[in-house]
Amino acid sequence: MGKLDFFVRRTLQLGLTLWAVATALFMLFRLMPGDPTSYIISPGMTPEVRQRLVESYGLNDPLWVQYVRYIENLLTLDLGRSFKTNERVVDVLVTYLPNTLVLMLTAFVVAYIIGISLGVLTGWYRGSRFEKTAVVTALVGRSIPSFWMGILVLWIFGAKLNLIPMSGMTSLGSGPQSFWGMVFSLDFLKHLLAPVVVLAFYYMGYPLLIMRNSMLETLSEDFIDLCRAKGLTERKIMFNHAARNALLPVLTAAAIAVGYAVGGSVLIETVFGWPGIGREMIRAVLRRDFPVAQGTFLVLAMSVIVMNFVADLLYGVLDPRVTYD
């Protein structure tokens, strides 16, 4: 009953899931082979120095003490410091997360706008050649490994044709810029183009196929017949009724997929030299930089969880039938 109730329950659930993810992470990283200390100490150090160093990271405490401290710190949003660079993990996140978000969200919005529109059309024109082409294209997009396509694009359009910049978010030596200043520069857009196209091509299939299926389902509903009977134009029926109703499952799917996209950006960031959070995470995992790995992973996980939450709320807003039980 009641929105408040729903909210409280979902928030509790959210907290619980986050805690579970955080705990699982903690365990996971302790289970990893390869001692993190082997990365921070160098063989030239005397045992005493080595010991001190290990202590300074709290790695010598019993596991549960480390765990309690970890959770405590999490609650105060203190994610620790990198073993490798001593940087605060929060700073790492602040530096890299926006870059990832810009790339992901742009690709995402592009993909969903195109995907949903095509989904509406394919649903409406079921059985046409256009539908077949669109669906197969969508499937192809989903099937091609995005990193592979990224490299091909870089090679053809970057190295051979010299049409797109090869790496990063800005041109070399373009100097210090504020984040938003950079985002709205032409130079940035040029750099954004290729990764966004590759990603969007990959993302697009999902909303397209869901939207199409959802459209087909909606189109078989009685109220579509009634709309025709009311003398509405086909366009109105297609957009105001069919698409509007069919959109609901797509939006939920989209919210969940946003979370996924942030996590799945790893490969594209690597290929396009995009200074994003995914790339940092991989680096941290491979280098046993636990705090950074945990922190970045936690943020990725959190974005997935929060997006799920948002999806639920969104559904409630968009579908009047939803009662918060």
């Binding site: 659930q13 579970a20 699982a24 499937l139 192809v140 099937s143 996590g263 790893v266 490969l267």
Partner: protein, 328 residues
Amino acid sequence: MTESMSQEHERSIFEDIETDEDEQFSTWQRNLRLWKETISEQFRMLIEDPMVVLAMLTLAFFGLIAVIAPWIAQYPPTERVFTSGALIAKWVKPSFLGGEGGFILGTTAQGYDIFSQLVYGARPALMVGLVAAFMTVGLGTLVGLTAGYYGGYVDDVLMRLVDFVYGLPLLPTVIVLVTVLGPGLENIILAFVLLQWRTSARVIRALVLSLRERSFVKAAKVSGASNWRIISRHIAPNVLPMAFLYGAFAIAWAILTEAGVSFLGLGDPESVSWGVMLQSARVYSAMTEGAWWWFVPPGVCIALVVISGFLIGRGYEEIVNPELQVEG
């Protein structure tokens, strides 16, 4: 007479029933026949769509390649080939581009025969696909059935578990798990399964929840069927098509995941998969060297297998449930 019953009503249509000789008139034969009919019918429906036929042929083709790999590959996939002298034959162009040594697709930077690798690469790809799909869906179905049928606390606990797993981003988690477990095909599969069962579990649970309320389940209950009987005879067969469907999609996802993880260098170092090929092509900058014959074919193979999985899944989907949503 039905003496056993306590409240006796005088007449019964079964009063004069004669004892049957072949009571169990070969029940299993009958069941086998029915199964065969069902499967062949579904298959017939599937192959009505030319796209699905194409996809099946593609998969069959790669399956065949995987089986006969030792006969068509010229070299073992990880055996260095040498030119006449003791020199490693590396970066050799494909024979059709005039490369020496008759390597169909040339050789890698390490002196492995690309064509042989490609051919052998079908094995891990299909293995990852099939094993992962089977396990994912198996686990997902099991959880979905249990949660959906028993409901209550069981459902609550299992669904919170699903929520939790849903909170983990796929690729990053697989990467972390694979580093924990150690690189290797079986660990990639395991990591993938540990995460991906969630989708089928959720969908199947939803399906079971609705099936559970269907009156044929109630009818079975009224007849005195045990929970096990209801699950195995009434609910499971009805979720099976959905499980198959998710299996088909899982094949695609598993192969893509394997490729991605291998691309980051966490692939199985012992065997050559297409993902591993792509990774080494990338490591040795095959594209900048213009060696597209090293970089392009594995990608195309992956795409072909994956899209076949998707197409079959979708074809099946149209049969099972035309209104269903494609899984993400």
